[in-house]
Symmetry: C2
């Protein structure tokens, strides 16, 4: 006789049990004010007794809101994207939204557009695109916005909201730190030029050197973020030093590549920081335990995620009324032992 094995209870069942109409049940569910406390309580009890859960599809059908946000990401295996995603998910759940995710293997205009299509099919209420590459940012800018979209690290999309870390400030701090230590100039191992972050870091490095009146060497090498490419860049660095080039300080565009550089230098018998000072970018959990522990720039991914959700929800609330905001999250220099004064003393204190 019990309904344990039959299909789950619906609103009408609850209504019957509580002796009210289904609409009253709906009102209780949606915290509508005009319900007598006593009635509300009765409905609540009926809901509990029947283990009723409202059907989200039916609700979405009539409200035209799925309460779901889409996220398009690229290589969520990397520390940065993974952390950003995590931050986004936390913030979304807190705001009562579900997160539906699409991870791209390759990032092209086509794949980005397909991902958005895919999410549109699920009728998400809004989309966050983690688009650190020029291709992705451009693809995004070109797309007609059927739903609200915010880009994370998405360059200067003219009329699209963007949330990003202050790459330039981070890179400037890294470069300035090395200059403050007395290095005549700072070399740079850059990330792939398709990446906006790589470009921003390189530009800020150049500008900082320029502002300090220091020599502006060419980019030593363009890596692909991987430790391997850092290793190769490191070997090139070693060669150029052997050829007489005066390289004492290097700003590497991310920590993983910095790891490869450290390894190449060690193999060549060079000591970090005595012979060469190294600064990375990202502050991955491993960086503190590299040999030596890496001076690097930390990005606040949690804030990035929170702000993305914040901006997106704003967009959803009042679609297109306000101008698209551009939110910048700070980055901070973390000084460890891979940097020292140019004369090779052990201290890492720039004031010494």
């Amino acid at each position: 006789m019990s309904d344990s094995k039959t299909r789950p209870a619906v609103m009408a069942d609850v209504a019957r049990r509580a002796g009210v109409s289904h609409q009253t049940v709906s009102r209780v569910l949606n915290d509508h004010p005009n319900v007598r406390p006593e009635t509300r309580e009765r409905v609540r009890r009926a809901i509990d007794e029947l283990a009723y859960r409202r059907n989200s599809s039916a609700r979405a059908l009539v409200t035209r809101r799925t309460n779901t946000l889409g996220v398009v990401a690229f290589d969520t295996t990397l520390y940065g994207p993974a952390s950003t995603l995590f931050g986004i998910e936390q913030a979304a759940r807190e705001a009562g939204y579900f997160i539906s995710i699409v991870s791209l293997k390759t990032i092209t205009a086509k794949s980005v557009s397909e991902a958005l299509d895919y999410l549109a099919e699920q009728s998400v209420d809004g989309v966050i695109v983690i688009a650190p590459q020029r291709t992705a940012a451009e693809a995004l800018a070109a797309l007609p916005a059927a739903v609200p979209v915010v880009a994370v690290e998405g360059g200067q999309a003219p009329d699209r909201p963007v949330v990003c870390v202050d790459q330039r400030a981070g890179a400037a701090a890294a470069t300035q730190h090395l200059l403050d230590l007395g290095h005549r100039t700072v070399w740079h191992i850059a990330g792939p030029m398709d990446w906006l972050e790589a470009e921003a870091r390189r530009d800020a490095w150049r500008d900082t050197l320029s502002a300090a009146g220091a020599a502006q060497p060419d980019v030593l090498s363009h890596g692909d973020w991987s430790p391997r490419s850092g290793y190769e860049a490191g070997r090139r660095l070693v060669e150029r030093r052997a050829a007489g080039e005066d390289i004492t300080a290097v700003f590497v565009a991310n920590d993983q590549m910095a790891l490869g550089v450290l390894r190449a230098l060690r193999e060549a018998g060079l000591d970090v920081p005595r012979d060469v000072s190294i600064v990375g970018f990202d502050d991955i959990p491993e960086s503190e335990f590299f040999s030596p522990p890496l001076t690097t720039v930390r990005q606040d991914f949690a804030a990035l995620g929170r702000n993305s959700i914040g901006v997106l929800l704003d967009q959803i609330e009042d679609a297109g009324s306000r101008p698209p905001p551009r939110v910048v999250v700070p980055a901070s220099l973390i000084v460890r032992s891979s940097t020292t004064t140019v004369d090779g003393r052990e201290s890492t204190d720039p004031s010494e």
Copy 2:
């Protein structure tokens, strides 16, 4: 006159434009065979012209299928979970399913149960729980299964399908590798004992020593997977060596901790692998560029993800008819330069 600014087209609009009934449109959309090719084409054209997309909520309402799978994960910032998640997402999308994700900050019976509730509210068709901890696995086992669930790394849940990496085989290979190099015995730095993987690796390490007739030292230390905890374990190792203990080979439960160990050993003036051989577990991208490059065990996360989805879809198809499967994905030893023969020669070739 155009409907560009009005609300999006629905099936009836398409039907009208194609001169058919809405039901025929539905048939075209669902690849129903009994539609004249010519009609089908006409409908297709109308769909394109109106940029029609079917409403997934309405569809879900009547089919009782959302085509969405839930994933409950813990700390998706770690390489392992992030990779697993990536694999799951790829496989799901290929199978035509959406992925809705919940990342837990803390993993308790309560938080797991809440996450499942949360996903149930979204009426997902099934759930994958990445539950590498005993707490999670037990919470999962205790929960009544409203929807099909598969556990990834979920221990021996008696009547719940489980997909996992062959931790034991991986750990055994690591230990045996060190024994084959001539080490009298192998020490172990374990992961947190709440984690099933940590336990499996430790047990397999013990069993391998036992089978080889080697001495079975106590676990050197229990870390928490972090480089820092590995560093601390490494210092303890150094102390015990200084106290005269004969420690020449260590199997560390993951790569990040192994990194910390490497650092502690280097600080103490010990050389890896000359003084101590180290094997890790996970093969994170950085491992190849540690100093020295780390011998480790690689897990096939992509296969893990694919299989999870496969098993889950099977469960959804015929709920509870077949016995819950247990799928094991292989792990493979990757030999690099952090291990060598006991007499300290440089070679890493066990046959030498």
